[in-house]
């Protein structure tokens, strides 16, 4: 007889499962963590390579000559910016027109749900200015975008200068097969969101914007430039976008190939590449780089202006110029040449970038790990939940379980989740009236209050519970909760692997081993811990008090991101992870 249909063998298998369940779970957990840490080990990674045939190798001749003139333009821009106290719209329009572009502007305004204390804005009004370089001989069906943000103060003036210099140089060439849109956006991400919504005729975030008068066709790729100094020592590539979405790896490959050709130092996550992968420090360096990427991806916020393009299936990345204390400096002409080379290669594209990976992790700029290699780490963690569910199912087999008893905790948990999602923003006025706090603090503190109130629920709802907790009642609840968590984490990991993995890493062990009377941690602790870890990885460790303030600002930024750009981390945590957690919390106090 077969292995599973033979009753003897089945019983043996089942007894094996129930006897060794805990050890197998522990082994799986260790294996999952070890697999994840092993991803940064260089022999397990692959070298990056160009997958798109149309982009070929880097054989173009870059001839951009006017770096100094671009910096001069940047200085003019900064002077006009100071004079106008914001975006110098008229000067920009005039300059772009003199370079032969078709110039258009877009006005937008937005009232944030509560004041943003990090960037100090509440009522945001601004203008985007963009100029379109029409392809000389091609139909206007495809476009490429180069953008630079107009930041307050002294930031990013050189970026706008290089953008205008490149616009002038590109205008003189005849080989463009796609329109190139040069965009200067105000109020960084908010302006970019307004522009993208206007371009694609969608309105997902409730912003007010004037419709775009000029359009360029379907955007194939976009680059955002952030340059705040005349010379740079290295160029940093930022890939993580909204909801942890990443651009096609070919864009990173293109950047790396050109960096190597031109001889510019290039980094990712602000960390240089090292050659000594077999030493401990080299390996830990790679682990740090990868962990930084994982944390940034898990936060679900766009880490550069490019992050909002990804939602429209436009491959985009941000290039940041970094000026640190190093002898070898790269000037603006070289940066212009690098961008020119990249745009010439993107010009050769015939279809959207799709040949390379969309899901990957990069322990360094020249090596990557694809989804096929990193998913088993999560799979091992999810396996623990499934083994636990099997174990519970076997234990519950003899007295048939009643599902209805589970319904009440489920409903109450989800209602609490809905409360956590809606209350903080709606009740901020009331909170401000009664307590001496600012609106932002009110929102954050309301969120924490609702969260803690939810934790106190099980004590109170037990009185309401009909069908008093039988001895095995908690097992039914645990079975449902474990399966729910497994499905939830699985779906999250598919969309945003880093978020799913970090949640799994912290939630799964406790979820697996929770029984009445056993202590456990909460997702809030996960967040607190990750904040500290993130700061540690960036080599800017913080004291506890600063860490706590950072933690509060992270919560407020999460809520803002959801309201402004549609980030899904906050609703996911409030509406799904938190109720699921409350079910486990209920089990703790099952009496």
């Amino acid at each position: 007889m077969g292995l599973l249909s033979d009753p003897n063998r089945r019983r043996a298998l089942i007894s094996l499962l129930t006897r060794l369940n805990a050890p197998i779970c522990v082994v799986c957990y260790m294996a999952g963590v070890a697999w994840f840490m092993g991803l940064a080990f260089e022999p397990f990674t692959l070298r990056t390579y160009m997958s798109e045939n149309a982009m070929g190798s880097t054989m173009v001749e870059e001839r951009f000559p006017a770096g100094e003139r671009a910096l001069g333009t940047g200085r003019e821009f900064s002077a006009h910016k100071k004079k106008a106290g914001g975006m110098p719209v008229d000067w920009l329009v005039k300059t772009m027109q003199s370079r032969g572009l078709e110039v258009f502007t877009q006005r937008f305004s937005r009232r944030l749900p509560f004041p943003d204390e990090d960037k100090e804005r509440y009522m945001v009004k601004g203008t985007n200015v963009y100029g379109i370089l029409r392809a000389p001989r091609a139909p206007r069906t495809e476009a490429l975008v180069l953008s630079a943000p107009c930041s307050p103060g002294d930031d990013n003036n050189q970026a706008v200068g290089v953008l205008l210099g490149l616009a002038q140089y590109f205008r003189n060439q005849v080989f463009w097969a796609k329109d190139i849109i040069f965009l200067v956006n105000e109020h960084d991400l908010i302006g970019m969101q307004a522009w993208l919504e206007g371009y694609h005729h969608t309105n997902t975030t409730g912003m007010d914007w004037s419709p775009l008068q000029g359009r360029g066709g379907s955007i194939q790729a976009a680059l955002s430039l952030e340059l705040s100094s005349d010379v740079v020592t290295s160029l940093d590539l930022v890939l993580e976008g909204l909801n942890g979405q990443l651009p096609n790896l070919d864009l990173a490959n293109l950047f790396y190939a050109f960096c190597q050709k031109i001889g510019v130092l290039c980094t990712t996550q602000g960390k240089l590449q090292r050659n000594d992968w077999d030493s401990v420090s080299g390996y830990s360096h790679a682990v740090q780089t990868m962990m930084l990427m994982v944390m940034k991806q898990a936060s679900g916020r766009p880490w550069g202006d490019h992050g909002l393009f990804l939602r429209y299936h436009i491959e985009a990345a941000t290039i940041k110029g970094i000026n640190s204390f190093r002898q070898y400096k790269t000037d603006a002409t070289t940066i212009g040449r690098l961008l020119e080379g990249m745009y010439r290669k993107l010009n050769n594209l015939l279809e959207r970038l799709h040949q390379s990976y969309f899901f990957y992790l990069m322990p360094s700029l020249s090596h990557f790990v694809s989804i096929g290699y990193y998913m088993p780490a999560f799979g091992l963690l999810a396996l623990i939940l499934l083994l636990r569910a099997l174990d519970l199912w076997i234990q519950l087999a003899t007295p048939p379980p009643g599902v209805l008893s589970v319904l009440t905790p489920l409903v109450i948990s989800h209602l609490t989740g809905v409360a956590l999602y809606t209350l903080p923003i709606h009740f901020q006025e009331i909170a401000v009236e009664h307590f001496p706090v600012s609106e932002t603090e009110a929102v954050v503190l309301t969120a924490i209050a609702v969260y803690t109130a939810g934790l106190a629920l099980p004590h109170n709802t037990h009185r309401l519970l009909t069908g008093r907790g039988t001895e095995n009642g908690w097992k039914v609840l645990k079975l449902v909760a474990v399966l729910y968590l497994a499905v939830l984490l699985g779906c999250t990991a598919l969309i945003n692997f880093s978020l799913g993995f970090i949640l799994a890493l912290t939630l799964v062990p406790v979820a697996a081993f929770v029984t009445p009377d056993l202590c456990s941690a909460t997702p809030a602790c996960t967040l607190l811990f990750s904040v500290f870890l993130f700061q540690e990885l960036q080599e800017m460790p913080v004291s506890f008090l600063d860490g706590w303030m950072l933690y509060l600002s992270v919560i407020s930024q999460g809520i803002l991101d959801h309201a402004l750009y549609g980030s899904l981390v906050y609703p996911l945590v409030a509406l799904l992870v938190y109720p699921c957690w409350l079910l486990f919390w209920n089990i703790l106090f099952w009496k």
Binding site: R137, V174, F175
Partner: protein
Amino acid sequence: IIFYIFSTLYFQLSFSPLVPQENAGQFFSSGHTNNWAVLVCTSRFWFNYRHVANTLSVYRSVKRLGIPDSHIVLMLADDMACNHRNPKPATVFSHKNMELNVYGDDVEVDYRGYEVTVENFLRVLTGRLPPSTPRSKRLLSDDRSNILIYLTGHGGNGFLKFQDSEEISNVELADAFEQMWQKRRYNELLFIIDTCQGASMYERFYSPNLMALASSQVGEDSLSHQPDLAIGVHLMDRYTFYLLEFLEDIHPSSKANMNDLFKVCPKSQCVSTPGHRTDLFLRDPGSALITDFFGSVRKVEITMETINLTEPIQQRQKETYSYVDQLPVSEIIHQKPKQKDWHPPDGFILGLWTLILLVFFKTYGMKHLKHIF
């Protein structure tokens, strides 16, 4: 001295056909009377610029050596000269630094863009075209035509890719040539192919009077020659580049023969190993001139005498046309594919079988072993 001049003149005159009547028969039984060329580029897209440049450079040589546009069927799958990405519009260069523009201003493309398909190619070869097809798109060859067929593009073991959507296999090509032989559409045919693993395309030929050259053997890739950094693409493939250089030295009265052509692009220059096939060619390759295929050389001899062609030429025997002779059938049937090397089974297969056997024996116990052995 005058006597000397007269004697040399007389001597020269004596080398012209002394008895023109007898030599007339020999004069007209030389083999072919007209030349045709079918030049095909099968790939489109900007990064395949080099295939168009390959085809155009062969077109240029063939035209220079005398074949007129009416006898050339040029098929280009994409328009590189007017591509939006071309920094030098209306040109296609074959040498870097833009030394040689093979596009020129008198290029006549017969099949362009999406018209270059396997079906159209085979119809051109076999002559089965709809009645409305113009003459410039037809291969109007007869049984005294020497045809040059040049193919370039992306290929593999046994196939050539047409425009990213279809392929022609070596079997189809061999059958098309057999149809041409049966319909007496060629006297001799030279087939040149410049693709990866090009030698696989002529493996299956079985019709007489075919000679084939390829840029690389099975398992080898044909490499491109040089990129031009201003244009941003590779301009030519290596084999055709050296073929072009070789052909630039050929002029209409050149006596270079096929053996010289076989030496074009040795492995040191081409990196791949060019191959050729002459077993189906009934003449000695050394007696076939380059201009027999690449040029349209008219045999003209000037004589001051009148020739009386009153008697029929005796050497031509009366032929009743029936099925054309082919190679012996046994040779066709036993055309075996090349012997592949025996590889030991993969470790994976071995491991899988070991696993299956282990599970089998574990489940059913070792006592069954003795039933097997």
